[in-house]
Symmetry: C2
């Protein structure tokens, strides 16, 4: 009896838990090929008896951000941050009121902003990246993300993250995968909220970067931002920078545009099991519809071309239909 | 009695182990200010009751390699690797037999090699970094380190690592510190042996890098080396790249030359407790003696100037005397 009581207290309860059907790790996904692909991938790479088993210290999954983890349409969130920085700097620069491209920003002239050239964007980025320390930039981005809200949902931008992708990240991490964000956006911008938003620490954020300059004075040090591109973490830059930072191939890669194709090709060349997924924005009701399957022209952001769609299908990559594969899109959806 | 026997089997033995005096985590260090500084630093940053406690996920220590973790005198180990690559390529380049700087390398003409200019070195590095994939380069470095031996000790180069520093790394890791190698040497070269030599995984190696080019063909991908400097991880480059890769300051930094000064300044500006240590090569018998306190002129490698020595003393940095602070230098020392 005593033995039974001890067993009941320490053993059977645990056994009972283990024997009950496991909770669904991906509750915001509808049953279908996308959900099945993720679950199967985790199973074959983490079951020690599987021929495709990957040791825990080698498990690596990389995620694009804009359009893959959070909303990118109609305008990249980081660009909204740059606009706010320009507005904050404007009082010290009275000439901007009449000088393009600053004038359009200060007038909130969306028709003009949509027509911004690459040169205009570089001018704005360089302006907000000069004479500021990385610490000050980080603090400024952190403060902005805590207060700014988008216009459609009236939510903080980091509430507009896709709940199914967050579940996929957590599910992979619970199975020993190290999850990295690999974004064409600015590394420092994303680091300002990656931990609280995605549970991804700053040293697992790879992004585009500008050069910095180390300055020491009286025992205090500062890293100043320089308006000079260092890493262009887009297209081929993604696998190049993954190797630079991590030194090996991911087994799983998630993206949504031509900027992610090379990262997915890199995962695809992993020996053993690998997983490549592309988010297709085909849900005009709950989010947006753009790209080939939506029958809509590509916009400036999130270029999911017909070529990429055909390439994905030919290579066994999984195209995630937001409309069909996702039960809910945001955590606040019913 | 049964209870006692159970206790003896499971409890008391463990208690007995815990109650015995802890084994010295730094057995190759002599008692003195350097050893005391390391032990005190670990104590005040990891004791939860300490006002200078650092949460485990923020504990970070960075180590230079050449002259700090392994022998750099009289010539950097990586240069010996480059020489071997040139020799291996020579049969395809008959003209090298009469063309400087290749001729000196192939003739093993040390008098000429000592006089190599920066331009000569760049020529040799560029030659061995063109038309080779990162994977092939990694394999080649791995094969070389497994067979090449130095001339003084007749040992593999990665046996010529300083046992006291290895103990310091392990002691820091056992106390929750993440240890990074931050080297002016090539990142890919050091990654080829960092795990087996130091227990440092490839994604915790920050070094100088060249650009790479991603190539995809028939489902296979390759990253090709390009003969173009990307990150010059020396002097100010060290804190700049630490921030790029990790996103925060180290609390502890270890170096041995002017190339490490900025990294130590960066650690020094950490809030709370911090530790800066410089290895002084003052042991001509067991290793080498060069630098200010040894009364010897600086050589091309490992520039520990009198200025740096004075700066260290003025700033409370710890200068490690190899002669006095280290009981043994190599694991094979008596």
């Amino acid at each position: 009896m005593r033995i039974l009581r001890l067993a009941a207290a320490f053993g059977i309860l645990l056994y009972g838990l283990a024997a009950s059907p496991a909770a669904d790790p991906l509750p915001s996904w509808n049953d279908g090929p996308a959900k099945t692909a993720i679950v199967n991938f985790v199973h074959v790479t983490t079951d020690p008896s599987s021929p495709q088993f990957v040791p825990a210290e080698q498990r690596l999954a990389t995620f694009d951000q804009d359009g893959t983890l959070w909303v990118e349409h109609p305008i990249y969130t980081q660009f909204m941050f740059v606009l706010s920085q320009i507005a904050a700097m404007a009082p010290q620069h009275p000439a901007w009121k009449t000088t393009p491209p600053f004038k359009a920003v200060l007038d909130r002239d969306e028709a003009a902003m949509v027509k911004f050239t690459q040169k205009d964007l570089v001018t704005l980025l360089a302006t907000t990246s000069t004479g500021i320390s990385m610490d000050a930039f980080h603090a400024s981005a952190k403060a902005w993300i805590a207060q700014a809200r988008d216009r459609r949902w009236k939510r903080h931008y980091n509430e507009l993250i896709y709940q199914p992708m967050l579940e996929a990240m957590r599910y992979l991490r619970a199975n020993g995968y190290k999850t990295y964000i690999v974004t064409g956006g600015g590394q420092e911008f994303v680091r300002a909220f990656s931990m609280e938003t995605y549970g991804v620490p700053v040293d697992q954020v790879i992004g585009s970067t500008g050069e910095t300059k180390f300055v020491e004075k009286n025992g205090q040090t500062e890293l100043m931002k320089l308006p000079k591109l260092q890493l262009n973490n887009d297209k081929s830059g993604k696998p190049e920078d993954i190797y630079l930072f991590i030194g090996r191939k991911p087994q799983a890669a998630f993206g949504n545009s031509t900027g992610d194709q090379q990262m997915l090709e890199y995962a695809q060349s992993s020996p053993g099991a690998h997983l490549e997924m592309l988010v297709l924005h085909d849900d005009a009701t709950r989010e947006y519809a753009y790209g080939p399957a939506a029958g809509l022209p590509n916009t400036k952001v999130g270029t999911f071309t017909q070529n990429l769609y055909d390439y994905a299908k030919a290579n066994g990559w999984i195209v995630i239909s937001m409309k069909n594969d996702w039960k809910r899109i945001f955590s606040f959806d019913p």
